[in-house]
């Protein structure tokens, strides 16, 4: 039977997806640092939506692991939480989603568009250039 095995390195096993997110984050940081001539990353700002299925502490922990011996080793991770904002497609009202109720507080409408709350983004990088 066709069988596909992923993840040969057994020390990289983890039951948390924050690890793979931390690896993607590191990839982006290294690439952006290179583009901007940064040789040592000191601080990284992230935006994480309140609806994102990510635990910031766990992400920071995983990032510490994966960034060892890279230009991002020891960098500070600052997380900005982004609130869940939705807009009603029936009456146009924008509202903050509270208590996990994704219904329009104005008209009760259920057709809504999520404006924010699912972010998993890098917003800035600080570091030292070679010059």
């Amino acid at each position: 039977m066709p069988q596909v095995c992923i993840g040969e390195k057994s020390d990289e096993r983890a039951a948390v997806h924050e690890l793979s997110i931390a690896e993607s984050l590191l990839g982006i940081l290294v690439e952006e640092a290179r583009n901007h001539g940064i040789i040592r990353i000191r601080k990284v700002k992230l935006q994480i939506g309140e609806l994102a299925a990510v635990v910031p502490e766990s992400l920071a922990f995983c990032f510490e692991l994966v960034s060892r011996d890279t230009i991002a080793q020891g960098s500070e991770i600052e997380v900005e939480n982004v609130r869940i904002i939705a807009q009603c497609l029936r009456c146009d009202k924008s509202f903050e989603v509270e208590e996990q109720v994704f219904l329009c507080p104005e008209c009760g409408g259920a057709d809504i568009e999520l404006i924010s709350g699912r972010e998993l983004c890098v917003s800035s990088i600080e570091g030292e250039t070679g010059e």
């Binding site: 596909v4 992923i6 993840g7 952006e32 940064i38 000191r42 219904l103 259920a110 600080e126």
Partner: protein
């Protein structure tokens, strides 16, 4: 040495998003409708697949990708029904991603396939952040897990077009309140289709099977119109 701060607005998951979009293009070119099936461990994903395959046999060409931490037991269950199935072992990883699907697609013959169902790793958190290129996300919740699940896994409920409440044959033996599940799911995602089923007795399967058939034929028409 100079200190600088550079603004970069980049989605951390963009690499996976790109792979998912490539997969999606592949599915659409081949006219295949794809579901990403998620639940906590043991809620009944493989049982649902087995019953769904039985119900649609002969009418719809089906293939399955099985994601699992280890073992190929689930894929063998599907293959014994005469269906193409490929197993992805994540080796401890808690979710499937776009890249794994791309690799798995290489070992599937898609020529006779109308419907591809991907059984994700049993987990209600991690798979929620990783698109695979599917057209719809479907979740299974078993009544044995309790009616408070929507509150604990809001993102999963938010993103799934379908909620299958499984093991309703066990309702008399649990304190699970179906009305609570319905009400909480409505608050999280009022457009979500809810089917109450039992993979054990087959109860409630007819509306679920019609939903899939409609989706598959709707998708075929849409793709034909595009080409």
């Amino acid at each position: 040495m100079a200190q600088i701060k550079v603004p970069v607005v980049r989605n951390i998951l963009q690499a996976n998003e790109r792979l998912a979009a490539e997969n999606r293009r592949k599915f659409d070119d081949a006219g295949i409708y794809v579901l990403n099936l998620m639940s906590s461990p043991g809620a009944g994903k493989t049982s649902l697949l087995e019953k769904t395959i039985e119900g649609l046999a002969g009418r719809i060409g089906i293939a399955v990708i099985e994601g699992d931490l280890q073992s190929s037991y689930d894929a063998e269950r599907i293959q014994s029904k005469g269906i193409q199935a490929v197993q992805i072992n994540t080796d401890g990883g808690c979710h499937l991603d776009g890249n794994m699907i791309q690799i798995a697609l290489d070992s599937l013959d898609l020529s006779e396939v109308d419907l591809l169902i991907i059984e994700n790793v049993g987990n209600l958190v991690c798979p929620a952040e990783f698109n695979l290129g599917e057209h719809d996300k479907v979740m299974v919740l078993s009544v044995a897990e309790g009616d408070d699940k929507p509150l604990k896994y809001p993102l999963m409920f938010q993103i799934c077009s379908v909620l299958l409440v499984n093991k309703i044959d066990l309702l008399p033996y649990t304190d699970c309140d179906m009305n609570k599940i319905r009400e909480r799911a409505r608050q999280l995602n009022a457009n979500q289709k809810i089917f109450e089923i039992s993979c054990r007795t087959g109860e409630g399967f007819a509306p679920w099977l019609s939903w899939i058939e409609e989706k598959v034929s709707g998708h075929k028409k849409l793709q034909r119109a595009k080409n």
